[in-house]
């Protein structure tokens, strides 16, 4: 997302769009790192797959810019689902689509938390995955619970709690063997390594917390 003419008032949509743009830049910057994590226990393309997602979102930025928040997320998700492929395309795409579906037009933080939980549930269903399977779910599920628990206490604190829970999730999953995705085939070798999808999920949560955690 290269050129952005700032909206006269920073609407929730504009903030989301900007956050998405920064997220995409971070993902592109992390491509090699995520590929390396995937090379260790998967097929080495997780960063590459997410860079396809990031480029696609950049391409459709103008379309997204005209949408209300729920539709923006749904559309962003369906663009990813439609174009990315791999395992992470359908998973992240579903996360965004289902979150968007559950989101009101002008959500409160608590409504955000509820919608995020719906998105995470959709992702788990799509992947037939449960927590502890050593996937991105191990970061996203505890993060979404933390957001729900802290939604009453102010955005900055809630997002910080979400991020901390995600990080804890990554660490808790580290010693596990994988039970979903390609890493399920490497058996013992996955234990001790970080799951690439969990790492990219945490990167997303951290970016969002950084960008939106300061605003009130």
């Amino acid at each position: 997302m290269t050129s952005a003419s700032p909206a006269p008032t920073r609407s929730a949509e504009a903030r989301a769009l900007d956050a998405l743009a920064t997220l995409c830049q971070r993902l592109l910057a992390a491509e090699d790192e995520l590929d390396a994590l995937d090379r260790a226990i998967g097929d080495g393309d997780h960063g590459h797959n997410l860079s396809r997602a990031a480029r696609r979102l950049d391409e459709v930025r103008d379309t997204l810019a005209n949408l209300a928040l729920p539709d923006l997320l749904r559309r962003a998700g369906s663009e990813i689902v439609m174009s990315v492929g791999g395992a992470s395309g359908p998973l992240y795409g579903t996360l965004l689509m289902e979150t968007g579906k559950a989101l009101p037009v002008a959500p409160s933080l608590a409504e955000w938390a509820t919608a995020f939980a719906a998105g995470v549930a959709g992702l788990a269903k799509r992947g037939r995955a449960a927590e502890g399977d050593k996937t991105m779910l191990d970061v996203l599920a505890p993060a979404s619970r933390a957001l729900a628990v802290h939604a009453g206490g102010g955005r900055a604190a809630a997002l910080a709690a979400m991020q901390a829970a995600g990080r804890q999730g990554l660490e808790d999953a580290r010693p596990l063997r994988a039970r979903r995705g390609r890493a399920a085939y490497v058996g013992e070798r996955a234990a001790g390594a970080d799951d690439p999808g969990a790492a990219s999920a945490l990167l997303c949560l951290s970016t969002i917390t950084e960008l939106l955690g300061g605003e009130s």
Partner: protein, 329 residues
């Protein structure tokens, strides 16, 4: 491991253009979204679509044509195709007779096909192929991987569709062939994805990985390279133990090259496999020895066995006219 490439990011696109140009009599390439479709579609026939990551040539695009696939959906190398590709392919080749999706059992393939089918409004059925008994772990949670046995399923289901069998019949048949099919592979080295800078499997010279997956996934054991007869025996023993064919049942024996192993060595493995199977009083009724489900330039091979019956045999023998497999017509 140098390669003939321009921009590695363009490898799949350029190769498909070359492939489609070379086989323009049989197939047609859609570039955006990317899929390969059969040129002379038969109206009222169940359409069969398969797909998955690229790098396994001739699977799947090489099997588009008469008596096999109506479309193939190639992803990036070793990466599942996207929903829009699958959907476009399905819409381009299917009519009211319906669509059968043949899907190798990988998370990405399953989810992308599933999502595409949620958006597809003609009758459709999905069959997941999971023939690889090579992996040590993972089988309990994610099931077996789909590998070379896919060719057998695509061939037999394709022949049934060409005989104008209905959607349910084709799907049931594909499922029963998949259930009757098992594969196990062995690698003598790795391969390198065009966009990567190193091989995806590190084997010391003189080592082999028994049970290798077609993306370089680990198998069940790593050991010094054994004589060809011993390797064939280990694979065949594992396959027979799993399939447990009763004496007298005809078997299909398919020795598949993973890319870097020349025909001479595949033939040596095939000969050993035949001897072992026949030595146990079983019959090799049909044979196939070729690199059909490859892993780029990986040196290695896999052995597939299918428990055949009269119906499977007839459909196997039916004409097939595709870039990668051709007989009987």
């Amino acid at each position: 491991m140098s390669k003939f490439l321009n921009d590695p990011e363009d490898a799949v696109a350029e190769a498909l253009r070359g492939f489609a140009r070379c086989h323009a009599d049989l197939v047609q390439l859609s570039e955006q979204p990317r899929f390969v479709a059969r040129r002379n579609r038969v109206p009222g026939k169940v359409a069969i679509v398969s797909g998955g990551g690229s790098g396994h040539d001739p699977l799947h695009a090489g099997f588009v044509g008469r008596g096999m696939l109506d479309a193939a959906v190639p992803g990036e190398v070793f990466s599942s195709p996207s929903v829009e590709q699958i959907l476009a392919a399905a819409q381009s080749v299917a009519d009211d007779a319906g669509l059968l999706c043949l899907i190798k059992n990988y998370s990405g393939d399953i989810m992308n096909f599933e999502l595409a089918m949620e958006l597809f409004d003609l009758p459709h059925a999905e069959v997941v192929i999971e023939d690889d008994i090579g992996a040590a772990g993972g089988g309990e949670t994610v099931g077996r991987r789909g590998v070379a046995g896919t060719v057998v399923v695509e061939k037999i289901a394709g022949a049934a569709a060409e005989r104008m069998a209905g959607l349910t019949e084709c799907a049931d048949l594909a499922r029963s062939v998949a259930e009757a099919t098992r594969t196990m592979g062995v690698a003598l080295g790795g391969c390198r994805v065009p966009t990567a800078d190193r091989p995806n499997l590190e084997l010391a010279p003189g080592e082999m990985e028994i049970g290798i997956g077609i993306h370089g996934e680990p198998g069940r054991r790593r050991a010094p390279v054994a004589p060809a007869d011993d390797i064939a025996e280990e694979l065949v023993y594992a396959l027979l133990s799993d399939l447990a064919p009763p004496p007298g049942e005809p078997l299909l024996l398919f020795v598949n090259g993973l890319g870097g192993t020349p025909p001479m060595e595949l033939q040596i493995l095939y000969r050993a496999a035949v001897r072992m199977i026949e030595g146990r009083g079983l019959a090799v009724a049909r044979s196939l020895v070729a690199p059909l489900v490859t892993s780029l330039e990986m040196p290695g091979a896999s052995i597939t066995l299918t428990r055949m019956n009269d119906r499977f045999l007839q459909l196997w023998d039916d004409p097939v006219v595709t870039p990668g497999l051709r007989w009987g017509a």
